[in-house]
């Protein structure tokens, strides 16, 4: 059974805005699925549809075989949600907040406390466990929200911009936790972010969305195959022979487009044979960011030509 399936999922708000438009996704268990797009692309609306907070205007979706529109509380029992809007209680301490949510999810007070302490330790919040939430920084709140979403050991985790407001060290520990959950417990992660470089570090599969419409889905390799079959070679040399087409890159380097790595030795040899000295050679496949912008361009061109 797939963890998440959406079938022509659409949501039109009463204002008439079509926030999600016919999105089709199939996400397997244990995947870290990056749902990527700019602000207002429809990511948060999709999370709300998948968690049963919104009812679809058209289409349907399921989480672990359950329809969130029909049985939201069943989906909630199996999932954890972290969004910027879902806050915790300022008047309670970090540990009191976690124990409260643990008991609301049906754990005993003792079990909640045990799990809360472990999560606080994993997310480096042990020292702040007895501080009221009002005294927490944004980053600490963000980490506590993640701990709250994990207190009942969910099978699916919806994360909306989980590392926004985190310092690099905290961001790293959150990333390691997410990877460990997917790897060791086969937790499915649905991660929404507009930070494409961050997503490339952590996700196993991607869905790219813009203005409510899904641009493409798949692994990084599959997405690359859709936009470009080649790679970019960056060379730093004191002379580039005539006839070798290149574009000027950063730091005095030149960038040459090739179809495969097999072409690189011949290019280097040509530079050296022409009397040039080569200081640096590296090959790079298109990044997620480049793929995303290529797909956006294609969509705009497609829209313009129609």
């Amino acid at each position: 059974m797939e963890a998440i399936i959406t079938d022509k999922l659409s949501k039109v708000y009463p204002s008439g805005k079509k926030a999600v438009d016919g999105v089709e996704l199939t996400i397997s268990k244990g995947q870290i699925f990056g749902f990527l797009g700019p602000n207002g692309a429809g990511k948060t609306t999709t999370v709300k549809l998948l968690s049963g907070m919104l009812k679809p205007t058209e289409g349907r979706c399921s989480v672990l075989g359950i329809d969130p529109a029909a049985h939201p509380e069943q989906v909630h029992a199996l999932s954890g949600v972290v969004t910027e809007r879902a806050q915790m209680y300022d008047q309670l301490t970090g540990i009191q907040n976690l124990v409260f949510y643990g008991t609301v999810f049906g754990l005993t007070g003792k079990e909640s406390e045990k799990r809360a302490l472990k999560l606080l330790d994993t997310l480096s919040l042990t020292d702040a466990k007895n501080q009221k939430l009002a005294a927490y920084s944004t980053g600490m709140r963000q980490r506590l929200s993640l701990a709250r979403a994990l207190i009942h050991e969910p099978k699916v985790l919806f994360l909306d911009e989980p590392t926004s407001g985190l310092d690099p060290e905290s961001g790293h520990s959150v990333n390691e936790l997410i990877k460990a959950l997917a790897r060791d417990k086969r937790t499915t992660i649905f991660l929404c972010t507009h930070q494409l470089r961050y997503a490339q570090e952590i996700c196993t599969d991607y869905g790219l969305i813009d203005e409510g419409r899904l641009l493409s889905t798949g692994s990084l390799e599959a997405l690359r195959a859709q936009v470009s079959s080649g790679m970019t070679v960056t060379i730093k040399a004191d002379h580039i022979p005539d006839g070798l087409s290149f574009r000027r890159g950063e730091d005095g380097c030149c960038e040459i487009g090739v179809q495969s790595e097999a072409e690189i030795p011949a290019i280097v040899k040509r530079i050296v044979d022409s009397g040039g000295a080569v200081y640096h050679v590296s090959a790079r496949k298109p990044s997620l960011e480049e793929i995303y912008f290529t797909l956006i361009e294609r969509r705009k061109e497609g829209g313009a030509s129609q």
């Binding site: 907070m53 909630h76 879902a86 806050q87 609301v104």
Partner: protein, 263 residues
């Protein structure tokens, strides 16, 4: 399991009210006014006022035959404890219910903690009933404590100022278990229904405070000597309010939807 999950929510809501100094101050001041200050003023005024006052004579004439026994002071004290104070007393459950329901529903929305709660495995009906119950429990607890305090104050003051003790009348037997819970429930429902639209606690509380107006009106009618609210009238009023409260409660549960709550 569900019960323990709801119990956790009730406990948290009660704690949220008691942990908030501002809310707690309001919960202390109004009952103190109604149960200590107001009866003391009345008892003091009773001793000092002219017994020939026209309104007072009219009011005393409305007393049932059974209550028109003893001295004029005893009749006046009876009127105070069993006819005048019960109506003012009703302000307590209305006020406590409004404050706690406001904090529980609109306060959670305002502080963006409601969304987190909605992601729990409790369905909307369970969240709704736990929150209503928390406000109701608090309202009834404060009312009961206020009643005991008021009785103590009235008994001590009448003993000291007028020289006798008084037994609370049958009006209280109708008021405490019927009228008071019914008005508290109506106040909670008004707040809850308003919470979907209201963005601040104060905005939601304005509506339920309107409930105090009929109470004040009834008290004024009594003061002017036009009518006296007896046990049967109170019973009828209480039964009608209880029916309204239960119907409103049933009607409100279905109105709650995730989409409207998260606006």
């Amino acid at each position: 399991m569900i019960r323990s999950m709801q119990a956790a929510l009730i406990k948290k809501d009660l704690r949220a009210v008691t942990d908030n100094k501002r809310t707690l101050t309001v919960l202390f001041i109004v009952p103190l006014m109604m149960t200590v200050v107001l009866p003391s003023i009345f008892i003091f005024a009773m001793g000092a006022s002219s017994k020939d006052s026209g309104d007072l004579q009219n009011l005393l004439a409305l007393l049932p035959a059974g209550a028109r026994i003893g001295s004029l002071s005893q009749m006046m004290a009876h009127l105070l404890l069993n006819n005048i104070l019960p109506l003012f007393f009703l302000i307590i459950p209305v006020m406590v219910a409004s404050v706690s329901a406001g904090s529980s529903f609109v306060g959670e929305k305002e502080k963006r903690t409601l969304e987190t709660l909605l992601y729990s495995p409790l369905n909307l009906r369970q969240i709704f009933s736990a929150k209503v119950l928390a406000s109701f429990i608090l309202s009834m607890m404060v009312s009961l404590i206020s009643f005991v305090l008021m009785l103590l104050v009235v008994e001590i003051e009448t003993r000291l100022a007028l020289g006798f003790f008084m037994a609370p009348g049958i009006n209280w037997l109708v008021l405490l278990p019927l009228v008071s819970p019914a008005v508290a429930l109506i106040a909670i429902i008004l707040i809850v229904r308003g919470s979907a639209k209201a963005q601040t606690v104060e905005e939601a509380q304005q509506k339920s405070v309107m409930l105090i107006l009929p109470v004040v009106l009834l008290a004024s009618v009594q003061f002017s000597g036009i009518m006296l609210i007896g046990p049967w009238a109170l019973l009828g009023l209480g039964a009608a309010l209880a029916v309204v409260a239960l119907l409103a409660l049933r009607g409100s549960v279905g109105k709650f939807q995730y989409e409207t709550l998260l606006k």
